[in-house]
């Protein structure tokens, strides 16, 4: 018996090193969010999207601060200069660019805009303009333009220096105005940057409205259930059946056009989708045991909602959020495009595109830059949203 009771000495010896580590969790313990971040990092497109959004925010916030002119500064002498153009050499250090309306702009060899050249003669019947630059007689003959009207690639003008035809010296980028200038001689780059501010303001507002109104509304509706749910959801139905455009137009009558109107209109309507998503999530989550446990322990409804239900529905919420932001930006651009947006001279990407439309045939770059900005932002948010959806889905967790 005594033998049975005693534990063999060997049992008291420390176990081998390997044995001791057997029970240790080899993977570091990660929270849900750390894991999601880890998986998001693996998704290259999402990271690209995230970086692009970061760059956009940086440019929108700091870009206009360091620029030396604002979105409304005009120079009516320097209208419609493209971002890249052909230059002609007049003299050793004198170069000119021929604008599409057949007038001359003096530029430097590497593409800095120096100013408009005043013509000495403007003959609209024989279709030429004469200039005097550095003592040379320059004649810009655009009579070919009418003859070659339907041939986009044909020669449209001749630049003659003392009777000798000049050939393009080289093509340069515009160093003064990176994206060129618009019809009133405003710097398009600065205007696109300011446009980014508006678009991102709208994005932030849409996100906040979604987050605070949509999530809480859906959460309360889902958790309360019954009659409360019924009434709240019918209100949502009513709000969502009235088109956004109608809200905007009605608000404009009351408050006048502007960013404020658009933001309020977005605030009135954009939480609806989010409310539905959160309600759906909460409906299934509230049957979980931890909710029962919390209730048993006497937690208040508010606490259950804020501490238990909403954090557990965070995945779908964030995904819906990243998808709603680009849609809000796009809505703003669209409203501005059709003239319901910010008032001039402030410009959002939508109004910039709308302004450029009139000169689309001749000055396509004015439409190109705001459109590309809209595209990049849309893509960036969508990439990020896609990646977040995968990263936050617990079933895809490895």
């Amino acid at each position: 018996m005594a033998e049975n009771k005693s534990i063999p000495k060997t049992m008291w010896e420390p176990i081998a090193h390997e044995e001791r580590n057997k029970e240790k969790i080899s993977r570091p313990s990660v929270t849900y969010w750390q894991d999601a971040w880890r998986r998001l990092k693996q998704n290259k497109l999402s990271m690209l999207g995230l970086i692009m959004i970061a760059i956009l925010f940086t440019l929108a916030i700091f870009g206009p601060m360091i620029a030396n002119h604002t979105y409304s500064d005009q120079d009516l002498n320097l209208t419609n200069i493209p971002p890249r153009f052909e230059i002609y050499k007049i003299d050793k250090d004198t170069f000119v660019h021929v604008r599409r309306d057949y007038t001359l702009i003096q530029v430097s060899e590497d593409g800095e805009i120096l100013g408009k050249v005043e013509e000495t003669e403007d003959n609209i019947f024989q279709r030429y303009r004469a200039y005097k630059i550095e003592g040379k007689d320059i004649k810009l003959d655009y009579s070919l333009a009418a003859k070659n009207k339907d041939k986009p690639n044909a020669k449209k003008f001749m630049l003659l220096s003392d009777g000798e035809e000049l050939i393009p010296y080289k093509k340069v980028f515009n160093k003064t105005y990176w994206f060129g200038t618009d019809a009133l001689g405003r710097d398009l780059f600065i205007r696109v940057l300011y446009g980014a501010r508006i678009s991102l303001t709208v994005a932030i507002v849409a996100a906040l409205v979604n987050f605070f109104i949509g999530v809480l509304y859906g959460g309360i509706s889902g958790y309360m259930g019954g009659k409360v749910d019924n009434v709240m959801m019918r209100i949502v139905d009513i709000v969502s059946t009235v088109p956004l455009m109608l809200y905007v137009i009605m608000l404009m009558v009351v408050m006048g056009a502007g960013l404020k109107t658009i933001i309020i209109a977005l605030g009135l309507t954009y939480w609806v989708r989010m409310a539905r998503i959160v309600r759906g999530q909460v409906l299934s989550l509230k049957e979980q045991e931890y909710v029962l446990a919390a209730k048993t322990l006497g937690a208040s409804t508010w606490r259950i909602l804020i501490r238990h239900l909403i954090p557990n529905a965070m995945g779908p919420i964030i995904v819906a959020l990243t998808m709603q932001i680009p849609s809000a930006i796009f809505t703003e651009s669209f409203l501005s495009f059709i003239g319901l947006g910010v008032s001039a001279p402030m410009a959002s990407w939508g109004t910039l595109a709308s302004d450029a439309l009139g000169g689309l045939r001749t000055y396509a770059y004015q439409l190109f830059f705001p459109s590309i900005a809209i595209c990049i932002t849309m893509l960036a948010f969508n990439f990020l949203g896609d990646g977040l959806r995968d990263a936050l889905d617990p079933r895809l967790r490895k």
């Binding site: 599409r100 309306d101 655009y142 333009a145 056009a257 003239g339 001279p345 009139g358």
Partner: protein, 564 residues
Amino acid sequence: MFKRSFALLLVLGAFAGCANQTEPAPAEDQEQPKDQAEEPAPAEDKEMVLRWNLGSDPKTIDPQLNSASDGGHIINNTFEGLMREVNGKLQPAMAESYEVSDDGLTYTFKLRDAKWSDGKPVTAHDFEYAWKRALNPETGSEYAFQMFYIKGGQEYFEGKGKVEDVAVKALDDKTLEVTLNAPTPYFLNLTSFYTYMPARKDVVEKDPEGWAKNPELAVSNGPFKLAEYSTGDKIVLVKNENYWNVDAVKLDKIVASMIVDQSTQLTAYESGELDAIDEVPTQEIPRLLAEEPTFQILPLLGTYYYIFNVDKEPTNDVRVRKALALAIDRKAITEQVTKRGETPATGYVPPTLKLSNGKEFREVAGDYGIDPNKAQVEEARKLLAEAGYPNGEGFPTLELVYNTSENHKAIAEAIQEMWKQNLGINVTLTNQEWAVFQDTRHQGNFSIARAGWLADYADPMTFLDMWTSYSGNNDAQWRWQKYGNDTKLNPSNKRFEELIEKAKTVTGEERDSALLEAEKIMMDEMIVMPIYYYTDPTLVKEYVKDWEKTPLGHWYFGNAYIEK
């Protein structure tokens, strides 16, 4: 429409293709079927259709109610007054002949045997009815004041007189007698204007508001009649077979589309979907001038200006108004922003309008110290400082209202920047839809508003008499007596009105000096800020012949034809 013609093209193409197969293939075989398919059918059995862009949807096409140029285009083609201006010459139209009494006060018109589009004869009673209708205060015609030349007209409109005392009378079915308050040198011109066109009592009374736009109700006496009106889309006019001079009308149909966007219009024109447009995107004008042979810039009697609300702070101070008017560079606006070859404006009445001695009104009246070629920054700043806003300090942010259009927006943005740079004041821009905008202006709910005025007849009076206290078009609210909602009074308007009324009763040099002084008062008060005198850029395909634009800028297609 599109589908059908496309199918036709395919069928024709197929036939052409068949024919070619039996023949030895020439070198350019590929091209041939296409060419044949595109050839139009012989002109005899094909409808001659003109596709023209009207632009915006007119508020009304009722001759007595209309006051806008879009409605004027349609009315000029559907209705006909006693006279009509063709190729710049005034010709008898509904009137066969007319007599003027020696004192120039009584006009007796003999009407020709003309019919309405429903076959009933056009009688002098139709004119009498229409003219009295325009003067009836209940009709609410904004252009009633165009009729104030007629004795008793103004009294009736203002409720001080009776309808029987309006001196227009149909002596019989074919004779119309009109007595004027004063000899009016341009009265015959006026009878070609839309407010003076006839209307049928039985038709108007069926639906006083909507008869003109309803193809089932509308009757007209001009070369065309209304066949279809689809709101916001198009107006279809067809040849009026009952028109007295129907042989001269060669077009079978006019499709007037309502494309507002200038860029869309130009695209439609360049791709051959439209034959005539008169609005083009500003940005494209330099290119069109250089490249497009059918692009023409026609002269137009009109002024583009901003109205100041003389009842509202701070534009109720004449120094502020003057400062604003002096601080803009008109040459830069016309050359760099509008680009239509306009002349910078230094007065309200546009050039080419003449005084009785043949001299140009504009040259005699002078420029009121406005430099057309640059902004007078120093003077403007001084005036603004005198008004209590040195360097623009303390100046409230004003609202500048314009109706939605790329062109108006660009001008507004340029002027906004000029005021900011030159005076240091801030202005916000608000665009409004045309119908809303017209109300805003009429009711004076603005500080500064964009406006343009096109002549209704070739006389300086058409620009000046709109600023009388009883004119519905006095949008600056510059009135010395109460009118509608305008209860803030501006005594300076009284002398102006006296001069206008005097000019309507006298002739010759006396009239000239009254008109000149009237414009001087108006410009000294600077109730409006003239910016430029209009031009009319027009694109009409070369196969459209004999189309016309009256000096007032109204299209007329009564003699036009298409020759492809």
